[in-house]
Each structure stands twice: as C-alpha cells, then as structure tokens.
Point group: C2
Chain length 530, copies 2
Amino acid sequence: MKIALGQINPIVGDLKYNSAKIIDLIEEARHEKADLVVFPELCVTGYPPEDLVLKPKFIAENLAAVERIVKASKNIAVYLGFVNLAKDHLYNAGAFIVDGKVKEVYHKMNLPNYAVFDEKRYFKEGEKGSVVNYKGTKIGLGICEDVWVEHGPYQAEVKSGARLILNINASPYHIGKVKEREAMLKARAKQNKAYFVYVNLVGGQDELIFDGGSMVIDPKGNLIAACGQYREELLFVDLEKDQLADWRWLDEPAEVYQALVLCVKDYVVKNGFNDVLIGVSGGIDSALTLAVAVDALGQERVHAVFMPSQYSAEQSFRDAKQVAENLGVEFAVIPINDLFTRYLETLTPHFKGKPANTAEENLQARIRGSCLMALSNKFGWLVLSTGNKSELSTGYCTLYGDMVGGFGVLKDVPKTLVYRLAVWRNVKKSVIPESIIKRPPTAELKPDQTDQDVLPPYALLDPIMRAYVEENKSIREIIESGYEAKTVEKIAAMIDNSEYKRRQAPPGPRISARAFGKDWRLPITNRFKE
Amino acid sequence: MKIALGQINPIVGDLKYNSAKIIDLIEEARHEKADLVVFPELCVTGYPPEDLVLKPKFIAENLAAVERIVKASKNIAVYLGFVNLAKDHLYNAGAFIVDGKVKEVYHKMNLPNYAVFDEKRYFKEGEKGSVVNYKGTKIGLGICEDVWVEHGPYQAEVKSGARLILNINASPYHIGKVKEREAMLKARAKQNKAYFVYVNLVGGQDELIFDGGSMVIDPKGNLIAACGQYREELLFVDLEKDQLADWRWLDEPAEVYQALVLCVKDYVVKNGFNDVLIGVSGGIDSALTLAVAVDALGQERVHAVFMPSQYSAEQSFRDAKQVAENLGVEFAVIPINDLFTRYLETLTPHFKGKPANTAEENLQARIRGSCLMALSNKFGWLVLSTGNKSELSTGYCTLYGDMVGGFGVLKDVPKTLVYRLAVWRNVKKSVIPESIIKRPPTAELKPDQTDQDVLPPYALLDPIMRAYVEENKSIREIIESGYEAKTVEKIAAMIDNSEYKRRQAPPGPRISARAFGKDWRLPITNRFKE
C-alpha cells in the first residue's frame, strides 16, 4: 500500500485556507498514485482551536470544509482530523474517506486534559476503536493520545485484525520530544506487530510549536519513513518496499533553534505582520533574538534599535551594532539619557527623599519600552521581546519595560541554553561577536551592575529553575540532589513571587516540558511556600 | 438539629491560616451547642488551588491540616472540603467528621470543566454518593456541582433515606448568581422533600469572587436561613424551629459594587500590599475605581495622581481633584507635557515624516503608566488600573499605558454599568461630581477627542458586546435581535482583533457570566471571522 503523509501547517480558524491546502495535497497524492493520504489531528480547524469550538458557526464551517474535502477525495482514501458534532456532543474526530464517501468516523477516546491540553473542556470521549477494510487491508484508526496510553484503541483494533494503525496528531514540541515519539511508536509497533503511521502537524500557534517529524514504523519496529522537522511535506511511503537507512533527527541546539525560528515566523505571518522590531542592548539575549528573527523573516523585515543610557558601556554599542551589521539589519540609535533625566526631574519631588531603588532602574527599561512601542505604533512593526526564561522565572525583568512586546522569543529558553544556541548559530557563520558571549551579563541599569549582583550564577540557577518549574520537584528534592539549601530556597522564592509579572508577559515559543504558559497555572494570590 | 454554617474566607495555599480559622469556628460552634458545623468546598486549601494541587507537599500539608481539624472536632460533627489522596488519585473531597474521627469521605462526582473551571485537570471523579447516620438523622453529602446537575448524588442519597443534604461550595459570583442558586435549591428541596444546607466560600481570589450567601432550604422549599453576602459569618440554624421571614439579597448595583470592594480588598491584603495608587483622569472610570478602593481599604491607604497633558481640560483637573477630596484621598499632580515633548523630540527623527497617529496618543498613556509604576516601585504601592470592559473588549486602551497595574478593578464592568455604579455610590454620599457623570467620555489624547470618535455609543456597544462575549451569540443572532449589521460587525471585529492586548492585561474581578480571564480562552493567532 502506498501512503502519503500530509504533514501540513494549517492556520487556526482559517477553514477555507486549511481545506484548500488539504484538497491540493489530495490532488497531488492521487496524481502520485497513492492509495491513502493521511493528515493531522484537527487539521481542518487548526490546533488548538480553544474556545472557538464553543461557537456553533465555527463547528458548522468546519463540517462544511470536511464536506468539500470528501467531494475532492475521488479514487483515493483520506484519513484526517476534524471536529464532529453528533447527538449534541462535540468530538475530536477522524474521518476515513474512501472515493468521495465518509466510510468511518472515529472519535478520540483518550482526551488529554493536563499540561497544555484542555480537551475535556470541549470534547466528549469516544467509546470504541474503529477498523476499516480498505483494499484488502484492515486499518485501525486513532488520534494522538490514543497511541500514548498503554491500553489504547490500537490494542482492540489489532485484535480485530488491523495490521496498520493510523495515528493523527497535533503533538506539541518540547526538547527531545521527537525521539520520545519514535521510541514509543517502535515499542507499540513491535508489541502489536503492526505498521504505525504517525502524522503530526507542523507550525507555530501562539506558544505551541508543532514540529512535524511524521513517521512510519514497520511491525518489526523499524523506522521506514520520516518527514522533516519544522517544515511542510507530503511524503510517500510504500509500506512493503521502503526502508529508511540511518535517519537522524536534529540534535538539541539545532532542534531548539529551528523550533524558535518556525514559531516566530508563524506568529508574525499568521497574525498579518510584515516587520518586527527588536531592542538590542549589546547583550546575548537580544543578539540571539535578532538572529532568530532574521532566520525567520529575512533581514529586510527586521529592525534593531539600540537605546543607550549613561550606564551603557561603549562595548555594548559596538557589539549591538556589530550584530546588526553581521545580520544585515537596519540599526537605529535612540539615546534615552535626556528622557531619563527629565523623568527624574518630574518625579523626584514626589519621591519624598527616598533613596534610589528599582524605581530609577525600571524607569530606564520603561523608557525603552515606550520608544519601542512608539516605533511599533508608527510603522506597524511587531515588537519581539528578548527576555529569557531564567529572568522571567525569577522576575529579573521589568514589567512594561524589557517585557514589552507581542512575542517573547526566548521566553522558555534558560540563559545557559541561550549561550549554547548563540554558539551553535555562529558555527555556519559567525554573527554574534565573541565579546557578547564572553562579557558577564548585565542589565546596565546602574553603574557596574551585573546579573549576578542579584541572581545566583546561571550555571546554578538554570538547573534549579528547571527542576522546580519543569520537573515540578520540591525544594527538598532539589537540595537532596546536591544543591545548597540557601540557593535553592532563594530561587524558589523568587519564582513563587514573580507570578504577577509572568501573567502580563507576552506569549512565546514553548520549547520545554513546562513553559510559563498553558501548562503553568499557578494562582497569583498564593501563600503556599514549598 | 442545630447546624452552624461556617461561611469563611480562606487564603489559597495558607494551610495553617485556613485550618486555624476552621478550628476556631468549630470551637465557637461547640460552645453554642451546635450538633454539626459545615464549611465550604476545598476550604482547607482555598479555591481554586490550581497547579498547587500538582505539588505533593501541598497535598501532604493539606492532609496534615485535616488531621489537626479532626483532632479539634471532639463532641461535634464537621463536614468540610479538602483534597483527598487515595490510591494515587486526587479527589475534590468532603470529610464528615464525628467526635474526633473521620466517619465518611465523599468524593465529588460532578467535576466542572467549563467556564472558569478546570477540575478534571486535577481530580478524579467520585463514584457514589454518601449517606451518614448522625444523631438519628440520615445525612447525604455532596459538593457544589453535584447539586446543580439533574441527577446528582442527592437523588440516590434521598432514596437511601437522607432527609438532609449537605452541599459545600466554592461557587464564583456573577451578577444575579445568588438568586439562581436560591431558585435551584428550592426546586431540589421540594422535589426531594429534604433539607438542603448550602455553604459557600466568601472572598476574592485573583479574578474570582466568592460571594457567600450560604443558605438553608426546608423540604417545602422555604428559605429558613441565609448568611450575608461578601462577609464571613458563622450562622446557626435549628432546622425544625427556624423560619426566615422576608429575606432579601442585594440588588444589582449594590451587589456588583460590594463584589468589587471585596475582590480589591482581598487581592491587596492577601498579596501583602498596604497601599494602592490610582491614576485619576477626571473621568468616570478612575473616579469609580477610587471610590471602590477607598471602600475596600480606607482613605489612608489610597493615593491618587493626576497627570495632565496639553489635551487635558481644566474641568478634568477640577473633577479629579474633587473626587479625591470627597473621598479624603491624597492627591498629587504630575504634568506630563515636558516628557511628552521630549519623547517627540527624541523620536521624531525616527518617525521619518509619517503623520501623527496612535503612536503619539499612546505615548502619553505610556508616560502616565511609567510615572505610576515609578511611584509604585518607590513606595511599594500596588497600582490599580481603571479600564472598563467596554474598552478592553474593543481594544480601546493602551498596552503599557492605561492598562498598567496589578489589578484591573473595572475589567469586567461595561461602561454603562460603570455609570450605574457611580450613581448608586453617590446615593449614600455624593462623592463623584455630577460633571464627571455628565461629560462625554474622552481619553484626552488629542484635541477635542471623545470615545465616540472611534466607538459606537456605549448604549449600543455594551449590549452588543455582552451578547457576543458573555452570551456567546453569533453576529447573525445579534443582528436578528435588532441591531444594525454594520455596528455589530464592527464591534465583533474590534473584539476579535484585540485578543493580544487582553493577554497582557492585569487580572481583575469577574462579575459577569464570562469575563476576560479563565472563562475566555481564544487563540491570539486566529483567522476565524464570525
């Protein structure tokens, strides 16, 4: 059997665009004499459609889109995801279409309702697996989570004679996820002595990244076909003939970098923006953000502005300018000293003689934020913010200051990984100057400041933050794993106390198993101390 | 049987505070010779504990708190809510304690997972109702949603002989909710010929308001006892003897106003703030916000600052000052003209001759935001933002400008209701000058501006916004209900296009059936058009 894997990048809510894209690929698959073409979970609506699903018109248009697709499926079979409405209930569903007719509708049985998922908010659970007979092959149907659970529908389907399991997905990326999928699918294929065809979405949707990497595993547990990561693809595989030699998924820095590039590109493009604006400081975060933006959009669509104060080192200017030059990006300089002085003159009488504190430091960040937003408003550019996860977790960032922006590119990237990504990006062409990578990080909001005045070294902070945030470890467990109690307690307290800031942060790409987004739902008003 | 209703205001995550409060009231109930004291759903942890529930230490401390409560329950019975851990699953549970021993643990069977609720993210559903025999009375147990569903556990419990149903709640307020509860409970009591004891939380928790209003209904459907709204109370009721004559719940303006006062107070106090700061413009929103803050915290803890620009009318100054005076609040004036001029000088070379647009308007709002935050940073005051729901829904507000703040007091209050609340607040003492109520609303960001330059009249905007947002009506349905197509389409598009702004807005009290918070989960990247 010749199967086409339709790894597509739909747009949430654009039912016409999505169905037209699907129909085009059905056409192509038919032309290539495929027997069956498989598209991802909820590819008709885009994933996750969230509360759009509560709008009856949205459901109706999604059903109308499916009808168009059904009509376009002459002389071929198609399996794809949509929202089904049956007896007043909504289902996360898969339609198996043969020669212009819906042969079977499968309802997802295992609805994830943890981490970033809220599927029980919208859908009712299906009650049984589905096996269809097509061209002499019994085919079992499933959707995403169904294949992750030990006793998924595939078990009963295989017992009913299925030797090919189709599993369609909207599986969000986190670091290493594609290898987890591959290992799981190989185990399933071997246990069940069946082919597993796994088709994933690709594309960015707000904070979520769908990384593609669709694949086919044979009953012996061999990977016999694989789509690329982070790109659309229509891949053909002949189950009996094909055999993939030596396939390698991307390794960590490349994997993360390309995830960021895809997510930034899709956020900008799908939201109808042309250009982006980045405030560059001469530091590593804004340098990396600039590189990601250029790789996502091209240099013409990226604008950099450097906003020095009296505390900005000359080196910061040179480095910021150098990055912009290396990347071929427009570079503007807007000094903020005068504005800062004027603010102090205006506010000092109201400060009642209180000593300098974060008020003065944050003012500088907020002047920069206001300048960025003024340019954004004037030219319609989207501001990309540059803060990293180490900062956002500990609250080492200024609300309405450096947190300003429509999309936070490094929001889920810890500082130590920022460095690794910068070094990796420099391999093919050196764009981020060594001096940026080597200088101690500083916010330059007062004289001789460095991040480590307030924060533990990032080499300590990052693993502790990851254990606490991403692995949900307790303070005690983290201390027992070998960190100093005082440091762990300090970091945990900083994380706990910064929730209010995170609530007003822009969204940004999720690359970890737990980002500050849909999978982090802590109350602001919260007196629990670990 | 003499029952005490413990309508308490716990603090999320403060297990010691909550259990100590519960133990104190058990003491008091015993002293008053009550047979049974009933506390709300999850009162040990506070509600909603959200992802704190995923922390094993949090669960363990909650169980330890229950143990302390059990020990303190000699010679009395107690029914209260906690998180139970049984066979590796978590349950939203109720413990029925008699004389220092847990007699029964009930697991909530109906877990709400819609609107603001995510209970299926955390809890497993219970499988059966519970009836306990206490002092010769069979008592059926339930939790919140259990009593709202047609075939809740109370049915089987009544069949098993229960003549008294205890239902414990964390039922979030929206306008008119207490009357909905009363009507539902009266119907349940009559159908089932049983007493229904309904005990609710009280207090603010981030965006949610728990309004109290606990009550007891007799088997004939009479309200025989009721706690006040918006306050803690330990109310005693003798089921056989008491009969409540002529009870009246608060009506709409009072009900909403007091909900806002409670929610602001709890956000400020539970988060450890003393003072709040409000930017006042001479308009109705900031005047009402100031009144709410003073009623919540007292005049000494509230600070007002007026920040005029060249576009501010003299009347605005007089009105702003008058409100502050009427409320006895400290009033500062920080003119922003110089700063605005300096920004324009700084930015004009970068504007490349483009005509004035929202960039210049928003700059003024952002200067004000920066000044507010500078005072906040200097003195540790929490900034209360003043934008209303009509603005936030249509995006008629400036990110990092007037949207600045830790808590958005009127976030869920449409403009027309803002006026009604102001008029109502003036009844007991006139604090908001007539001229504020009568002048056409304006942002004063350019000459002779009024809100209606951009927005339809609020008398049109608000009902259309409510239909679209709160009632989830389609554009077509709204037009068919009698509004002009062009206006409805314009408003719906404004709402759809402003999602990115709302994502970075501070939290604020939810008073409607659908606020821009937990119960509004629309993608930002979204091409669906109604």
